[in-house]
């Protein structure tokens, strides 16, 4: 009855395959993934430095470095440009990229759909409507007036999430119901947004359209910490679920069979995506593409294990955002094109390159 070793599969040629006696191949793969993460981190840092160096003020490398590391010796103008304009914009680019990249992975995982992104469920359209409504009505908060538009965007984003959630909950959070409810919400808020634009006077319309483009010019030391805190808290919240999310990629039935509470996990991740998207979009406006593509690039580089996939998607999101930020300043010297316009222009060639280069399936 006992089987001789190697009695199972043989290769196509019929010869027995070399059988490793430990998981060394797997360990080597893990090391390889860590190296890729470190590489991505270096690219992100290099792009961030480049981002801080570029800008319409034409500061020299020396000026920038003095402003960054020895601000007391820099002149007041340089100090303000480097520390209060460029640095918060660069940090915001990183944070928004990381938030959207992470939210994209979550969405694609819980919906089991490669086309899902933080925007699939209408969250950003809702944020846009909230912001447009605040701009149109001109209301301001009695305290922290700078927070009015972001707060309106944030609240509307959370409301959209609540709408999709209540609908999906009635059907056990099934992915296809979530997608349908989300797309309906997306169209609802897009129509509402168009209505607001239609009603707005030309100068108000201009402000609304500029907000909707998505721009890092809105970044400041007031709002950067808020986005950072939302990203940090949501990242901590997902740490205990990394392997469960990995298991979800095998499908609901198999994930449940190994002990995942599939519906509970969807609810939790749904809430985290709503917060991440609201946090990112509220302060910089609608930035598409990053949340859709960063997860795919990350998956091609480190596979499906969420211990590597999530940080890699965050890094890829930050790289696309920072790269787009540099490009937006170089395309029109002396001005800054809103980054929401540039992200796809930068990201698409990179994605095509990876698709053509890769031999393996990644979804």
């Amino acid at each position: 009855m006992p089987l001789p070793d190697g009695a199972f599969f043989t290769t196509e040629t019929g010869a027995a395959q070399a059988v490793p006696d430990d998981a060394s191949q797997y360990t080597a793969l893990m090391r390889h993934r860590l190296l890729r993460l470190a590489g991505a981190m270096l690219v992100m840092l290099a792009l961030t430095v480049t981002d801080i160096l570029t800008g319409p003020a034409m500061l020299s490398l020396f000026d920038v470095l003095t402003g960054l590391f020895s601000p007391a010796q820099a002149d007041a103008m340089t100090r303000v440009i480097v520390l209060d304009i460029r640095l918060p914009m660069s940090v915001m680019a990183i944070l928004v990229g990381m938030s959207l990249g992470t939210a994209g992975v979550h969405m694609q995982t819980i919906l089991g759909n490669p086309l899902a992104s933080p925007y699939t469920l209408g969250f950003s359209a809702a944020a846009g409507f909230g912001a447009a409504l605040a701009i149109l009505t001109g209301v301001t908060l009695p305290v922290f007036p700078w927070l009015t538009i972001p707060l309106a965007a944030f609240v509307m984003c959370v409301l959209a999430a609540a709408l999709v959630f209540s609908f999906s909950r009635m059907r056990a959070m099934r992915p296809e119901v979530m997608v349908l409810a989300g797309i309906a919400t997306l169209f609802l808020f897009q129509s509402a947004q168009s209505l607001v634009q239609y009603l707005a006077a030309p100068e108000v319309l201009q402000a609304i359209v500029f907000w909707l483009f998505g721009s890092l010019l809105k970044a400041s030391w007031n709002n950067v910490p808020i986005v950072a805190i939302v990203f940090a808290l949501t990242s901590l919240a997902v740490l205990p679920n990394l392997w469960q999310l990995t298991a979800l990629r095998l499908g609901d039935a198999r994930a449940a069979a190994v002990g995942v509470d599939v519906s509970g996990l969807r609810i939790k991740l749904f809430a985290l995506v709503a917060l991440l998207t609201a946090g990112a979009v509220a302060f910089v406006g609608t930035i598409g593409f990053v949340g859709l593509v960063a997860p795919h690039i990350a998956r091609m580089l480190v596979g499906e294990d969420q211990r590597f996939l999530l940080p890699m998607a965050a890094l890829m999101g930050a790289i696309i955002m920072t790269g787009a930020s540099v490009a937006s300043k170089l395309i029109s010297p002396g001005g800054v094109i809103p980054i929401g316009i540039v992200t796809a222009l930068i990201g698409v060639p990179f994605l095509f390159f990876l698709i053509l280069r890769g031999q393996r399936r990644h979804w």
Partner: protein, 252 residues
Amino acid sequence: MSLQIKHLTVAYGQNTILRALEDHWPEGRITALIGCNGAGKSTFLQALSGLIPMQGEAALSGRKLSPEERRQMIAYMPQDTSAHSSLTVLEVVLLGRLNSLGLNLPKGLANEALEALDAFGLSSLQTRQLDEISGGQRQLVFLAQALFRQPRVLLLDEPTAALDLRHQLLVLERLRLIARKTGTIIGMAMHDLNLAAQYSDHVLGLGGGGKIASGAPREVLNPETLRTMYGIEAQVTQIAGGPLQILPLRAV
């Protein structure tokens, strides 16, 4: 140690799928679960493993198991092998012990997962992606995952459906060996009655939302029961103490 199933009932609202099932599965033995399509075999396995709600009880050596205990002690392998994922084969096996996994893998766990793969001759595929291997190999990977959980009870939904004849025999022999050596109670839904006759120690036949027959293969796999269960006429023979041979003749 044995698994006693008492009054197991599964209902969705007014619709009762399984009614008051009773059976007794011995330690270290294989039970074949047979019945026509829609007889409730998969529902029965899912209910036993705590994945869908049920009434009644499942007891191990006389002790009633809570749904949580059932989820921990009973491993269930779903039937579908079409999972399209770029997860590596070793990662899929590791997921079998979800609760032991953290940011860092516990020392030696990857090697243990490799041993589970080795039981089905798949250790050389450890870093291959799930969607790069054949359907049959995928089925074996999921079997390795279920075994890696080291369950007291292993429930398999058509575990040899995607395999060629040679591998069907190899897998069933390996499962019988594992049951005998470790005392694991194995239950598997099967459509091939000849394989059920050859490899099971106990057969439970389902039909019409309940139990039609249960017992040793020669007690259950007879022309009368097969007619009731499947609506077929079959010839059942046994030559010189060998396994039963079932020849389906016609539908009635």
